[in-house]
């Protein structure tokens, strides 16, 4: 794979990403360009999910670096983000032009409500597979309460809860042995 192919590949991921960039990334990286096998992809995705930040941004940095080093990562990230940013600014400019039209106001309100629903659905789907034990449910409830209900800062919440969660799984791991 050349540097240009790396860049155009991630350019495609960004452009195909309407409504779900994860699917677009898999399509381009595994099916069309065949850069990674399914299991390699899964392991990079898993790493991208554990690390802080957007999964796909992390994945792009890792894949770009794997094939072309530091500058590969820079190319992958630029390719991934440049088209979406141009489209976003274009959309926002058009939106500002017509934002007083009743149809546009209704469409924006509906899109925002729908997008909130999208996050609810994602949370439910994740919860169904992840919340398989009583302690998992308790930790999910704690982070939800802290951020969603009490509106406490994220950093504070994680500094308190994350070490406790890790300690609990260490303790459970030790007991299982």
């Amino acid at each position: 794979m050349t540097r240009i192919e790396l860049f155009t590949g991630f350019l495609l991921v960004g452009m195909f990403g309407f409504g779900g960039i994860a699917a677009a990334a898999h399509h381009v990286i595994v099916e069309r360009r065949k850069w990674l096998s399914n299991s390699e992809y899964a392991s990079v995705l898993g790493l991208g999910q554990v690390l802080p930040g957007a999964n796909l941004v992390n994945m792009s940095a890792i894949i770009g670096d794997r094939f072309h080093g530091f500058w590969g990562a820079v190319l992958a990230l630029t390719g991934l983000t440049c088209m979406p940013i141009i489209i976003l600014v274009g959309l926002a400019t058009v939106y500002d032009e017509y934002s007083s039209y009743p149809d546009v106001i209704a469409a924006t309100n509906a899109a925002a409500a729908g997008a909130a629903g999208l996050i609810f659905g994602t949370g439910f789907k994740l919860g169904k597979t992840i919340l398989d034990s009583r302690s998992a449910i308790i930790f999910a409830a704690l982070s939800f309460t802290s951020i969603g209900l009490l509106r406490l800062p994220l950093v504070l919440t994680l500094i308190v809860l994350a070490p406790i969660a890790v300690a609990v799984s260490f303790w459970r791991g030790a007991r299982e042995k």
Partner: protein
């Protein structure tokens, strides 16, 4: 004045990004808290429209930060917001990618991998609540959000489909005075 905003925004997004376990959707409440309540860059309605635009556009969901930056400080704001969000985490990712083989066998990595997801589920549900409160002001909004949520929870198709249906229903309902 403008430089102060750029610095504050860069620092806020940088810090939040480093702590954004579970991806960007998990950090929406913190971004909302900072932008609307702490730093007063914008009101709830502006946040909601920026959020809606960033969801409708294709691309990774760091676009929310990009849009906020653009709204608050134009092109410099866009650059600062995007880079502050991407650079710290992709640097960490790059290093982790290079050490992946060693990392995969480290016990603390396994433990962290196993123990953080429940926290993330809570964070994402909190995001859903915060965005719903910022963007839903009408009973039809609740119906549309519920419709999209149920579709996403049950079906595996591209979420752009239920979103477009929601937008179409919203526009038609508004024409008849119901939204």
């Amino acid at each position: 004045m403008k430089n102060d905003v750029l610095w504050a925004m860069g620092l806020t997004f940088f810090t939040t990004a480093i702590f954004s376990v579970g991806g960007i959707s998990a950090m929406i409440p913190e971004i909302h808290r900072q932008a609307v309540e702490v730093q007063h860059w914008m009101g709830d309605d502006q946040f909601a429209s920026a959020f809606a635009l960033s969801q409708v556009a294709p691309g990774p969901n760091i676009l929310l930060m990009t849009m906020l930056g653009w709204r608050v400080a134009g092109w410099p704001g866009l650059a600062v917001a995007t880079l502050a969000t991407i650079l710290p985490t992709s640097t960490i990712a790059l290093m982790a990618g290079r050490g992946e083989k060693r990392l995969a066998h480290a016990r603390w990595y396994m433990m962290t991998k196993r123990s953080l997801p429940p926290l993330v589920v809570g964070l994402i549900c909190a995001s859903a609540l915060v965005t719903a409160q910022a963007s839903i002001h009408h009973w039809l909004g609740v119906v549309l959000a519920a419709g999209v949520a149920i579709h996403v929870a049950l079906a595996r198709t591209n979420p752009l489909l239920p979103l477009s249906v929601a937008v179409a229903v919203g526009v038609v309902a508004a024409r008849f005075g119901y939204f």
